[in-house]
């Protein structure tokens, strides 16, 4: 099983911004439909490799992207 995490957002604009910010920081992530068991806030979330959790968190905070939360997410 792969170990992922997801970043949740209140708006899709923030999710799309996070994708750009993460990409520019040289990290890897993918926008996916928000897992319903985690949130119903906004339709898309950013999935990343859990070992990069701190880098992702720091990069998004430095860019002032408003987040709704970061959760572990184990999925195929």
């Amino acid at each position: 099983m792969n170990s992922y995490g997801v970043v949740l957002f209140h708006t899709t604009a923030a999710a799309l911004r996070s994708e750009k910010v993460i990409e520019r920081a040289g990290l890897t992530a993918k926008l996916i439909p928000t897992p319903r068991h985690l949130s119903s806030d906004c339709g898309i979330a950013l999935r990343f490799g859990w070992p990069e959790r701190e880098k992702v968190d720091m990069t998004l905070k430095q860019a002032n992207v408003p987040l709704a939360g970061i959760h572990p997410f184990d999925a195929p």
């Binding site: 899709t12 806030d41 898309i44």
Partner: protein
């Protein structure tokens, strides 16, 4: 058939053949034309390949459509030096953006100060707010539509809620001293709203350096995007949670609540956005950034100055607006003695292929200031694509109309 009639017919045919398809487009203050080819390509590409609903679903077409819209946010942020692209609200046009700002901020009992040359996109919402109990002061401008900063300073008082000013007159092209007005507004604790419909993409604009709290812009003029695009930049000092949105509805976010979300840009962006239009806008703004706003300004002013010199030398032509180039954008207003502006406009179009706008230009207070109300003026607004030959041909056309 007489020989004279035959000759006349031949002459008319040759004349029409020579004039075929001539388009000298000098109406860029209304909308820019033609658009760069990449704007059309971006819009077609959006329709063909990225056609999902931006920000609604989680599938690839929806996400990709969302990326196109987000790209437009980043492009506009770069153009206007906006630190946070999420504080750019996309709208139908500058009028829509101005309405969000004015109706969102001004309440009964608030006082608003504006200039005496504003477009109806500012004056009509303010008139409605005045009927609802707001106090509105329009500071008269000088006869050439320039602003007297001392009169402005006297009108702005401690407790003034909002100062609203155009960045440049859509009638004369006169630039307003926005940096100074911003300082005056902030010294009294007021917010500062700027209508950049005429200047976005044509004049360098840095919202942070100029102290602009709210900037309304048009997407289809100097930003070279399609009609149906525009926006409002909201600065960090504006309490957006306290601003009532103009529209409420689906945002694709916080769907379990009936209350409109406070998050930006969703608070002010309900309903499906103009995806193809915003994809085109992103391409238009990238084109502008590639050329450089300073270079665009220099090129447009060169055309405008050639027009002004030629018109000043033409007999029977009256020019309006400030004389100094640095204080203007590429908008030239004039009248021809003894000719109505509508007659001149029709002849410019039909006989010479010169496309311009005549009349009041939706800005009656500017024309009252100039003394051209209610007849209005003829307005030439050369854009980026105006060739020297076009400018010369437009001047010859005016001379011909003025002469006979």
């Amino acid at each position: 058939m007489s020989i004279q009639y035959l000759l006349l017919s031949v002459f008319i045919c040759v004349h029409l053949w020579l004039k075929r398809g001539v388009v000298i487009y000098l109406d860029n203050a209304a909308t820019s034309w033609p658009k760069p080819p990449e704007v059309l390509r971006a819009m077609t590409d959006f329709m063909e390949r990225r056609g999902g609903n931006p920000g609604r679903s989680g599938h690839q077409l929806s996400i990709d459509a969302g990326r196109a819209v987000y790209d437009a946010r980043e492009a506009v942020a770069e153009l206007f030096h906006v630190a946070d692209p999420l504080r750019i609200i996309f709208t139908l046009n500058a009028t829509h953006a101005l309405n969000i700002a004015l109706h969102g901020i001004v309440r009964a009992g608030d006082s608003v100060v504006t200039t005496g040359i504003e477009h109806n996109s500012v004056m009509r919402p303010l008139k409605a707010l005045q009927k609802g109990g707001a106090q509105v002061t329009a500071v008269p401008c000088r006869a050439d539509t320039t602003l007297d900063l001392e009169a402005m300073a006297r009108a702005i008082k401690p407790g003034t809620r909002l100062v609203a000013a155009t960045h440049a007159s859509n009638v004369t092209g006169a630039l307003m001293p926005v940096a100074e007005i911003g300082r005056q507004a902030h010294a009294s604790g007021a917010l500062f709203l700027v209508d950049a419909a005429q200047t976005g993409g044509c004049v360098p604009l840095d919202v942070t350096a100029l102290g602009i709290d709210l900037l309304a812009f048009s997407g289809h003029k100097g930003l070279l995007g399609p009609a149906g695009t525009g926006g409002l930049v909201i600065g960090p000092n504006v309490d957006t949670a306290a601003m009532e949105p103009l529209l409420r509805g689906g945002t694709g976010s916080r769907s379990e609540f009936y209350e409109q979300p406070e998050d930006l840009p969703d608070r002010f962006e309900s309903g499906t956005p103009n995806g193809p239009g915003l994809a085109g806008l992103a391409a238009g703004v990238r084109h502008v950034l590639g050329l450089g706003v300073e270079n665009i300004r220099a090129r447009e002013l060169e055309s405008a100055d050639t027009l002004r010199r030629g018109l000043a030398a033409a007999r029977g032509v009256r020019l309006y607006g400030p004389p100094d180039t640095a204080g203007r954008i590429a908008v030239v207003s004039f009248t021809i003695d003894g000719r109505s502006v509508s007659e001149a406009g029709l002849r410019l179009d039909e006989e010479f292929g010169v496309m311009c706008r005549v009349g009041l230009h939706c800005a009656p207070s500017a024309h009252r200031t100039l003394g051209t109300f209610p007849e209005g003026t003829i307005r030439f607004a050369p854009g980026l694509m105006a060739a020297k030959a076009d400018i010369a041909a437009a001047l010859r056309a005016v001379e011909t109309i003025a002469q006979g």
